[in-house]
Point group: C2
Chain length 716, copies 2
């Protein structure tokens, strides 16, 4: 193993050839890539490195798009509601939307899909009661004091990543448009364009697709007080078009309408349970995306190149754990990572090469809008913080490569950042080498995370950690990403098919009614019955927040009779809860990690409270038949929270954690690599720490510097 | 006016004749009464005072009850759920209930009303699948892992107020039983008993009924960790019997079942919106109670006595604002009061005499379980605190009498309490005298409080303030009870009948799904449309907490499109709220009074935020058409909160508050009595306060001692 070279992708930059080659050496790069906005010069390309070329296939075809505007991408939108003060009113459909992003599609092709709704009555307005002319819908026969909306199709005339870079990073170049590969003209054009590109770029080894066709959903508003009206990193709204709708109807035998997308204006965010129609539509799109992507990969392969895909930006429909992903034939998957769960998401995908693109991106400001490579920024600190999250996951499951992206020249003034990346690259290679000798020990604890999406959304919810951190589940996933346990993501349908037969602990974590908690899926008593059986016969159940909350039952949480805990939102008016004393937990409790939820109450006398806040339980445990059920009011990720989750899993399953190495310090994590006889010790704390580790070989004592990782060979 | 005598009811006590007569003089009593547990001696009875005698008509007939156990009162209960682990299970119906309160009614009369439910499936178990024998229900054909409950009738063999006194105050006397006046034997017996009693007690001037027939609902459990399983001061569960159910079916043409009462175990608390069946049943019971009560009043009148009724204990069905109350013919209504809203409830009832029974009750411990007339108690402080609440309401609407109840001898060791009551009695008489000369000025602001119960539950929710203080509405009612505005309580049906035509401001305050917020009533678009019209045409809307929350609409609060504010419980996932700056309010904002509610967000750009906490609005205002809509995250009563509510009403309606006298100190309230030319000033603070009052006569400056009330005649 050469721990100073290999498995590293460097973003080169024309005009900074010296810097590029210097850093390539410092960081041990074997690959040089371009980025969105940068080019490689021949001096770089000819320096002996493998070359990745970034292509966003549907973008950078403005001339074609202007010539064939009907090939551009679309979406459904709903107007803001208009109050009827008489029996007639007018709706300007796009009022309040960003006019640089959207243009009405009032073509003959699109108008039949438009709808007008009485949202007060929740009733479709008959077509004969409204007219459209010159950008205005006139509705007649209105009921005074009711509110009306129009649902309509519009063109998306500014590719959203480009729009983001302009509005966030003050780009001033031409607004880029995007083509819909469903349009035959566009698709023929794009295939030819890709073939030509391959012919013209013999130096490229890997085409790095960023990503495929349909962007996640960013709907901008006209008012800066609400610029991002809607942001969903996993939604399918931007895949729609009259052609798609007609093809869907032909295949499925029923038609989707605007309302299947608009949903009263809620737009069916990924955090909400999908309707059956949405599931059908997603499968329809996934197959389309896979079919088209397969053609692209074939062109790339025929040109003697490899096709890697970047899992971000226009990735909708190519979910790496979706049913068609592996059929596309990508040679590699590249995932940008802030967090451990993203590392696991990449590492576990069925694809030959797994590559992580580290954050921070080499950009003046970060995704959260704070400075990175600009005044006030501390990119070396950011990189180290993200590394602490990713490192935990890396020792559990190997990836093949790491790298960076962006403007390399921005790093010039940040030598501490350059040094930090050098050190991370070395650490990465050491960990990768361990994995190469044999996998780390995993405890015999099979965790099944249960939610509406199941394996399609393994590890992720919808976007990055900081975009979804109001959800307990992403914190759970982040904690699990670095634990020595087996993790699987299952759906309610999977439960009915017997998935719990292969699980030791099932986790349900969400807010009432969301896709993670499950919502109406819990009306299916077959699911509830199977979870009840599972726990009663010895399984473990962890419920977090408002798991399995559903209205109309005799408890608010469908799982409450197992947990012995329910969450009162007023239903329990006049009913007393069981009083309790707080018991000492059989493991250290990180109360900060447990949050607080008003209304949690005991509904069974044998529920034991292990922690409380404001006279309200935040951590309980109950024996249920031969199993155990644990309730957490919330779960907020931190290294010590992750350790508490591990302790909880050990407690619930009666497992001895030392089989995978267990430290006596909650901020130090361990991995035992039996084939190497090596222990990887990760100090997640800011302090020098003396640690005592129990592992299959006995007991090890070590001292670790702040944030240090150390690989030791106790018998070596 | 004699401010030292009259309008005062003193609880006398045999054995303490000297004390009784001394305190009667000190407090200016004109009436002496007995209490539950005390007697009057002839020395007291013959001392020249009018005499009230307390009678709980359905209680103290143990010999009859034991001889005719079938005449006792009953209730439906549901067993706790039992998990099926095979296809057969057994249910012991009363397991977990207090066996001194309940006995199974497994008579041939009652068994047909029993039910067994599969609560997992929410399905009634066919009668042929279960048997009952020797106190045990055996269910066959169970689905493993489903949960089953039994609903059953049982006798209530311990009158609940007596049970409370035993369990709380350690009484050791015989447990008293209670008769159901619906049973013909019991009714004949009770009427005769009352006639005999009247004959045997010629000295009694007023029979003080405590109260009528059916107690509010206290369901005790066997385990002290959950002794009070269910407590609802306004529920009708204790009125039920096979006879009542059969009479109902005969009259209404449809049968009620156990499930109409059990409701999956939720028991349909008063805080939850009633079903149509419950409304029918309540009307049925109200008419029955009024009919029977009318007969009692007739007996009392025929004996030359008056009939006063105490509005507490067994009052269910005789709500003073119910449709049949005034038809009963009571001569007086007595209400125990901790709070201003209770004072207004009494003062506004359609009955000749209105009397308040002050707290604390002369008992060792108070209703909340804390000491009063025992070690650690400060009864003079308690009395003064309650007085501060009641006084505000007393200056707005007159009552005729005040008084006390309990064991007079307990006051011996509390001279400060004796002095405090003396002072309150004087204050009460002064205020009453002002009212006698002419009512105080009221502002032209007509407030309509809107909820599911409308006028039936005017002023009150379900019980005392401290039992319902988790509801914003009781805080609102308490504030309104002392404000110089007109207040009315309306239902959703009233709104549809045009009640808002007579209102200036409508208030909706509650939690999602409760009776105060309205729940499914907001699915009726006629209600929403009418409120929308009302505000648009110039009315005011105050929404507090989660007003009009209902699922399945395009906003979570049905009123959100008017308020410009909604409360996100996850539905808004991925949708951005409008950003805002906080504006200065046109009146002093008491931020403590506004509480906090997670998820509040702006959904309209023109909503102005007047106060926020944790980056979340807690007070907003929005112009909507010609009206104004105000949102408060919560409302927590205090004198300054009440003043903020008044300021808000003045601001919303553009009213000049000085017409009813307005102070420049938020803790000093004023009432202007134009007929007397008098200003009543109430210092609600603990500080000496200099106050400047604007009133129709000009400006008055005064200095008030802590908690002082002062009546001044500025032109006198």
């Amino acid at each position: 193993m050469d721990e100073r070279y290999g498995g590293f992708t460097l973003p080169g930059e024309a005009g900074y050839e010296k810097l590029t080659l210097e850093l390539a050496k410092k960081w041990g790069a074997d690959v040089i890539r371009d980025s969105d906005g940068t080019k490689l010069s021949s001096e770089i390309v000819d320096a002996g490195y493998r070359i990745y070329s970034t292509i966003c296939i549907i973008r950078e075809h403005n001339a074609f798009a202007l010539e064939h505007p009907e090939t551009q991408q679309q979406t459904f939108l709903s107007s803001d509601p208009v109050l009827a003060v008489s029996d007639t009113l007018e709706i300007a459909p796009l009022a309040g939307y960003f006019d640089e992003q959207f243009q009405l599609n009032d073509s003959e092709d699109a108008l039949p899909f438009w709808q007008v709704w009485d949202r007060t009555e929740d009733a479709l307005v008959p077509r004969e009661n409204w007219d459209y002319a010159d950008g205005i819908i006139t509705v007649r026969g209105c009921v005074p004091w009711h509110r009306y909306t129009a649902s309509f199709l519009c063109w998306r005339v500014w590719e959203e990543i480009n729009m983001y870079n302009h509005t966030t990073n003050h780009w001033t170049s031409e607004h880029l448009r995007q083509l819909d590969p469903r349009h035959p003209l566009a698709w023929a054009y794009l295939k030819k364009w890709l073939k030509d590109w391959c012919d013209q770029n013999p130096q490229t080894n890997v085409i790095r697709l960023t990503s495929l066709f349909y962007n996640f959903v960013w709907i901008f508003g006209s008012d800066l007080r609400r610029r991002s009206r809607f942001t969903d990193w996993a939604s399918y709204d931007f895949t729609v078009s009259p052609a798609a709708l007609r093809a869907f109807e032909k295949e499925y035998g029923y038609a989707l309408t605007a309302e299947d997308f608009i949903q009263k204006g809620w737009l069916q965010a990924t955090h909400r349970p999908p309707t059956g129609q949405k599931r059908d539509y997603m499968d329809f799109i996934q197959r389309f995306v896979a079919d088209r992507a397969r053609e692209l990969v074939q062109i790339i392969h025929e040109a003697g190149k490899q096709a890697y895909v970047f899992y971000d930006d226009s990735w909708v429909g190519m979910e790496p754990y979706g049913p068609y992903f592996s059929s596309i034939g990508f040679d590699g998957l590249i995932k940008c990572v802030f967090s451990g769960f993203e590392c696991r998401l990449c590492a576990g995908a069925d694809v030959p090469v797994h590559e992580l693109r580290f954050h921070p991106y080499l950009f003046p400001v970060g995704l959260g809008g704070l400075p990175t490579f600009s005044e006030g920024g501390h990119p070396e600190k950011d990189a180290s913080d993200y590394w602490l999250h990713v490192r935990r996951a890396l020792v559990r499951q190997s990836v093949d490569r790491i790298g960076l992206g962006g403007y390399l020249h921005l790093t010039r003034d940040y030598p501490a950042f350059q040094d930090a990346i050098e050190q991370m690259a070395v650490s990465f290679r050491r960990i990768k080498a361990l994995h190469a000798q044999g996998a780390p020990a995993v405890l015999p604890i099979r965790v099944a995370v249960l939610h509406a999406w199941g394996c399609l959304r393994s590890w992720t919810l919808s976007g990055h950690f900081h975009e979804t951190d109001g959800n307990a589940l992403i914190h759970i996933n982040e904690a699990l990403s670095g634990l020595p346990v087996q993790v699987r993501f299952i759906s309610f349908e999977d439960v009915k098919q017997g998935a719990l037969r292969d699980a030791d602990v099932v986790i349900s974590a969400g807010r009432a009614g969301d896709a993670w908690s499950g919502g109406d899926a819990w009306r299916d008593t077959a699911v509830l019955t199977e979870v009840t059986r599972f726990v009663y016969e010895g399984g473990g159940l962890i419920g977090v927040g408002e798991p399995a909350a559903v209205s109309g039952r005799d408890t608010r949480l469908a799982l409450a009779p197992i947990l012995g805990v329910d969450v009162d939102h007023g239903e329990y008016a006049c009913h007393a809860a069981w009083q309790y004393e707080t018991d000492e937990a059989p493991f250290p409790v990180d109360t900060d990690a447990l949050g607080f939820l008003r209304g949690v109450r005991l509904i069974a006398p044998d529920t034991r409270v292990l922690a409380e806040k404001e006279n309200t339980p935040v951590l309980t445990v109950r024996c249920f038949g031969n199993g155990k059920a644990v309730y957490l009011a919330d779960f907020i990720y931190s290294p010590s929270a992750a350790r508490m989750l591990l302790d909880l899993l050990l407690f619930m399953t009666g497992t001895d954690g030392s089989a995978a190495a267990l430290s006596d310090q909650c901020l130090v994590e361990c991995a035992w690599f039996p084939a190497s006889g090596a222990l990887a010790l990760l100090n997640n704390s800011e302090e020098e720490t003396e640690v005592r580790v129990r592992y299959p070989g006995g007991i090890l004592e070590e001292k670790l510097a702040p944030r240090e990782e150390k690989i030791v060979y106790p018998k070596g």
